[in-house]
Symmetry: C2
Subunit: 330 residues, 2 copies
């Protein structure tokens, strides 16, 4: 054997070994080897196989996911609402006269119970007080500061450490397989965009959500976009399907959520022709995360459990299907 | 010289030749060699030079363009309005009772003058009658049929042949240089998306525009999005900047338009930090296209001419700067 042929043999063996590693590398290491994981990888294999009958061209590989309760936690209340309450506390330190109602006074004391007891009206008041009357840049700087300094009341983690590791892996896996991944959430666009790039590798233009009205103004001759108190669009329920049609203009082939607010989006997605995957993250893990569904005041899930399986949706059982929960916790 | 070294020499020469061709290939062959063209290529060279002080990372290379009068013609009236009038004529053949007003009767006779004389109220009536009460799919099938069968009253060309060759080249050039190209137009999203992919290589999710309200409905148990008559968003003037913030979430570095409806979008774009390019297509070519600006009922351009140059905007003189106009005409 000449030196040349030895080199060739070694390279060939190395290539084989590398190929074997690549073929067996697990794209979803934080998912247990249950039927849920197989369902996902089988679906992705089918739509990316150019010779298969279920092949979908990359331009149509659109995957949409809710954020709160689907990509990160949402208990004891939506993280954006915790942010809003924190902002009111900060604002009140500078100017206590902004606390013009009992709800705002409760918010300044971080009394979540009183705020929640006030129902939707109270929540809108808290959101308006904390989310309007400033430029988009000023607002986003506040969010960026909060996201690294604030801590979750139950876990003590920063909020961006409470994204779900299995879902972050799923997003990356889908992108590696030619999908365009979108957030379609009831959360606010300006809020979510501050963290979506770092947390999920999802750029601003793939973050769809709720928004308030805004105004284009010249402030000292500088063109500026200022956030107004009026509600612009509530990206929830049927609004999610309508917003996907407006902004993406294509029916996704994968949609994932965790509550009845995601029902229409998943229903519309899975009703399309050809292969479709609907996915519900079911919060079943009181030990590692939270367990809630039908009776929860946040993330209520009834229709998804009652009708989803009959439409072929995958119900992910967090306790059973996920080996790990938070990105910030091994 | 061995065979091996001959092969190497030939390959090297071929590589040199290929490199030389690539370096001198003109990305904008339908632009005359005027200052306008140099301004564009200088800008692109600057923002794509990794060693330069004006370098912009690909994720932030966002370029937005108006459609009517910027990427395709808009005279004697917006093409979408010609479509709307044609649709009313077709609908009336099946059911003349839909012609419930003088405006709709005029539309059915393609009497543009009477429709235009009715002002905005008449235009809204024509748009509602032709653009609502059907699913998105049915509407888009009508547009797809119209775009290949209808002919422009002045040129006799199909409407998608009246896209501007120099702008199609500019879009392609920008994408080749790592830009993401968007349409941001007063035109309707569902209308424009039917042609944007073929005409401009711009996918649905990069088409931003006006829209009517829509409803999510189960029709015979099938989840469907139906177009409603109510106006949803008018993507014009300040609305263009607001919509870019909402949907893209980044301030573009290039914005192009042709009328005062584009002023705020270009103003907001060029007011950002770092290198920015604002561009106005000025309709100066009565021989090959149309000549209009300050006094036009369509595509009125006053602010752009008065204030644009002072803000460093490039005013493209169609007669002088463009060697060719329509994609469908040599």
């Amino acid at each position: 054997m000449t030196i040349l042929s030895v080199t060739r043999t070694v390279s060939f063996a190395a290539a084989l070994a590398f190929g074997a590693v690549a073929a067996t590398a697990d794209p979803l290491p934080s998912w247990n080897d249950t039927a849920a994981k197989a369902r996902i990888t089988d679906f992705v294999d089918a739509v990316t196989d150019p010779g298969g009958s279920d092949y979908v061209t990359p331009a149509d590989r659109i995957a949409v996911f809710d954020n709160d309760g689907t990509l990160w936690a949402e208990q004891p209340l939506y993280f954006q609402l915790i942010f809003a309450i924190d902002v009111i506390g900060e604002m009140a330190k500078d100017d206590p006269s902004i606390l013009t109602s009992d709800v705002l006074k409760a918010a300044a004391k971080k009394d979540y119970k009183v705020v929640l007891a006030g129902g939707e009206e109270a929540l809108v008041e808290v959101m308006k007080a904390s989310h309007s009357g400033m430029t988009v840049e000023v607002f986003q700087a506040r969010v960026a500061d909060w996201i690294v300094t604030a801590r979750h009341p139950d876990t003590g983690l920063a909020f961006n450490q409470m994204t779900y590791q299995p879902m972050v892996e799923l997003l990356r896996y889908l992108r590696d397989e030619g999908f365009k991944t979108y957030i379609v959430s009831g959360g606010g666009i300006h809020f979510m965009r501050v963290l979506a790039e770092d947390a999920y590798n999802i750029p601003n233009e793939q973050v769809i959500g709720s928004y308030g009205m805004s105004e284009y103004k010249l402030i000292d001759t500088v063109p500026t976009i200022v956030k107004s108190p009026a509600i612009g669009f509530n990206d929830d329920k049927e609004g999610k399907a309508i917003n996907i049609d407006r902004i993406i203009g294509k029916r996704p082939i994968i949609a994932g959520g965790n509550s009845d607010g995601d029902f229409a989006m998943i229903e519309w997605t899975t009703a399309g022709d050809g292969p479709r995957l609907g996915l519900i993250v079911h919060h079943t893990d009181a030990d590692r995360e939270y367990a809630y569904d039908r009776d929860s005041h946040i993330g209520r899930l009834v229709n998804g459990l009652d009708k989803g399986p009959g439409m072929g949706w995958l119900i992910v059982d967090m306790a059973k299907d996920w080996a790990r929960i938070y990105t910030g916790q091994q």
